[in-house]
């Protein structure tokens, strides 16, 4: 009897012990996000803007060609300057550290660049001795957070929390793809003279700058002394600006705005060509505007096409024809040849002299060259891809010949 009790007690003890150990369950959630960063402009303005020795490109943004120089923006960090006399061997000369810089344009040896809310003017007549000559304060005011008077900007950050929410230390963050600045940076991954995704452009002694909703006009007739004239509200979703024949073609994610800039100090809207929600850089010739619509980020309609719009009557733009594409980003027009950056799918060239049969006149499709934007420059076709900035000899548009590639440290992601 005692033995039975002992056995029962041992069994109870064993079963109690057996299930006494509790598993521990923990969770970590690591995500990429845009963390808000608050800055005082007085601190930003106190920083040196003197050029420093050449830096490796981490993530290329806007590109600008000027004389024999190639300028590459590092979004929010500054501008790399390359000697591009020989496109087969661009030489990295120096870097201008400009916080909050996204756009640039050059007018008569004066480089304009944004520095968060300010517009800066640099004298680059001597490329080895670049100096700041002017600062126009508080013009890009959309970056101010009015409740604090500080600038709000966002920094791409990887965070780890213990829950899968967009919250960190009692502060809500922004999913990278949904951030306005991320979209701005994405849309502005390449700009420049002839660039289809530019947000700064020059025409008739005036600098035009667009943000998500506003066109800002600057008088730069005296290049070193830019004067802010006025802002013009455009509506939400503005992405790119392209100047042609005293007109401004402004791409938004809902359509293309055409502004008459014959009086550049006071551009007037003359038409809006509307399309489905899509990201849409624009290039233009005398008769037609070429617009690429693509899905991605806010542009979630699934449309990927090239639209040719008849602008012979700029007051009544009409769709001439649309061509299906894979995922077109930026595009460039050189004479009758059209070049389209097809994102991760590659780079295409077309003979666009007959706008009704562009698809039948595809000249080349380089699938190995992933690309987000391009600029047909005087000496080379400059293409920005996830792996770097590459230059092509495009004297034969049917047989593009790679000349060089500037590698980047942090290749951009192409959707």
């Amino acid at each position: 009897m005692k033995l039975l009790h002992l056995n029962t007690a041992l069994l109870l003890l064993a079963s109690t012990l057996l299930f006494s150990c509790m598993d521990e369950v923990t969770s970590t959630y690591t995500f990429r996000t845009m963390m808000p960063v608050y800055l005082e402009m007085k601190d930003v303005r106190a920083k040196s803007l003197a050029p420093i020795p050449a830096q490796e490109i981490e993530n290329p943004g806007k590109i600008y060609i000027y004389k024999d120089f190639l300028l590459i923006n590092e979004p929010s960090k500054g501008i790399h300057i390359f000697d591009n006399k020989n496109p087969a061997n661009p030489i990295n000369l120096s870097f201008i550290p400009i916080e909050g810089n996204v756009d640039l344009a050059i007018n008569s040896d004066i480089l304009y660049a944004d520095n968060y809310v300010d517009l800066l003017a640099f004298d680059i007549s001597n490329i080895r001795s670049i100096r700041l000559v002017n600062r126009i304060e508080d013009v890009f005011t959309h970056l101010y957070q009015h409740s604090t008077g500080k600038i709000i900007t966002f920094k791409d950050t990887v965070l780890t929390s213990d829950s899968p929410r967009w919250e960190y230390n009692d502060m809500w963050t922004v999913r990278p793809g949904m951030s306005l600045l991320a979209n701005m940076a994405k849309a502005s991954q390449s700009y420049g003279t002839g660039g289809s995704m530019a947000r700064f452009t020059l025409m008739d002694g005036h600098l035009f700058a667009v943000d998500q909703s506003t066109l800002r006009v600057f008088d730069v007739l005296s290049p070193a002394e830019p004067k802010f004239i006025k802002p013009i509200e455009l509506g939400w979703g503005i992405e790119t600006i392209f100047p042609f024949n005293q007109k401004l073609f402004i791409g938004s994610n809902r359509g293309m705005h055409i502004y008459d800039a014959s009086k550049p100090q006071d551009p007037k809207r003359i038409a809006v060509y509307e399309h489905v929600l899509a990201c849409d850089p624009v290039v233009v010739n005398e008769d037609f505007a070429f617009v690429t619509l693509r899905s991605g980020n806010f542009c979630v309609n699934g449309v990927n096409e090239l639209q040719v719009i008849d602008i012979r009557d700029p007051y009544q733009p009409k769709l001439t024809k649309a061509y299906p594409m894979l995922n077109p980003h930026g595009l460039g027009l050189a004479e009758n040849y059209l070049y389209v950056a097809e994102g991760k799918h590659g780079l295409k060239s077309f003979n666009a002299s007959d706008v009704l049969s562009i698809d039948k006149n595809q000249l080349e499709f380089i699938q190995s060259m992933k690309s987000v934007d391009l600029i047909p420059g005087p000496n080379s076709l400059i293409v920005i891809g996830p792996d770097g900035v590459c230059q092509y000899d495009y004297s034969n548009p049917a047989k593009l010949k790679k000349l060089s590639c500037i590698q980047v440290a942090e290749p951009i992601e192409v959707s």
Binding site: F19, M22, V25, F31
Partner: protein
């Protein structure tokens, strides 16, 4: 399942090692079947459930000094939702007379691998399992057979063994970002927008019986 069977065959093939080595006394092999008992719970709930899991292990060691053996340990642990294959080092120590029952102490430690678990990929995400460093001290007895050079063993111990379930959402739909092993993986690997890792530290009381020869 096919992989599991092959692994079990692998473990039990150790049975023949002592035969092949002419039953050298300086080497021992221990094969064990066991149960791992504990309480499991999910991440967002306080509710618990008793769990009782099946375990197999094999040890082959060499005498490093009298009554102390150091060697390799292999195993198979069938936890809820994950099968782990522990691979590591083991130690066995014995206390007692040359004849009759002996006290046995042991320790297995190493890494619980997840070779048997498949990676799953969809257009939007990838999921996979990862193991971790395990630690298993135990105490028991050996009961020598009346005939032959072998003994029955029985032991009770504590097994601490982590396992993680990871789900990464792709930056681009349709992509197949590389899944790095944890020792080379950055905080957020390239090609992923987010990575959710749920780690379960299995803490179990182990009860094992086996043979030693």
């Amino acid at each position: 399942m096919k992989n599991s069977i092959w692994f079990l065959i692998c473990i039990f093939s150790w049975w023949f090692i002592p035969i092949a080595t002419a039953q050298e006394k300086s080497r021992i092999t221990q094969l064990e079947l066991g149960l791992l008992g504990g309480k499991s719970r999910t991440l967002w709930s306080e509710e618990t459930q008793n769990r009782l899991n099946f375990s197999i292990s094999a040890f082959h060691g060499k005498e490093i000094k009298p009554n102390h053996y150091l060697g390799i340990h292999l195993g198979y642990d069938n936890y809820p939702d994950v099968q782990l294959l522990p691979i590591g080092l083991g130690w066995r120590g014995f206390l007692g007379d040359d004849v009759g029952p002996k006290w046995m102490g042991g320790l297995n430690a190493g890494f619980g691998t997840t070779f048997l678990e498949k990676r799953e990929r969809t257009e939007w995400s990838s999921t996979w399992q990862e193991g971790g460093v395990y630690f298993h001290p135990f105490l028991g007895v050996t009961l020598p057979a009346k005939k032959g050079n072998w003994a029955l063993t029985s032991s009770i111990g504590f097994k601490w063994q982590p396992s993680s379930y990871l789900e990464g959402t792709h930056s681009q739909s349709g992509s197949r970002p590389k899944i790095h092993p944890f020792w080379t993986r950055p905080l957020l690997p390239e090609g992923f927008n987010s990575l959710n890792k749920v780690t379960t530290q299995f803490q179990s009381l182990s009860f094992q019986v086996g043979v030693l020869f």
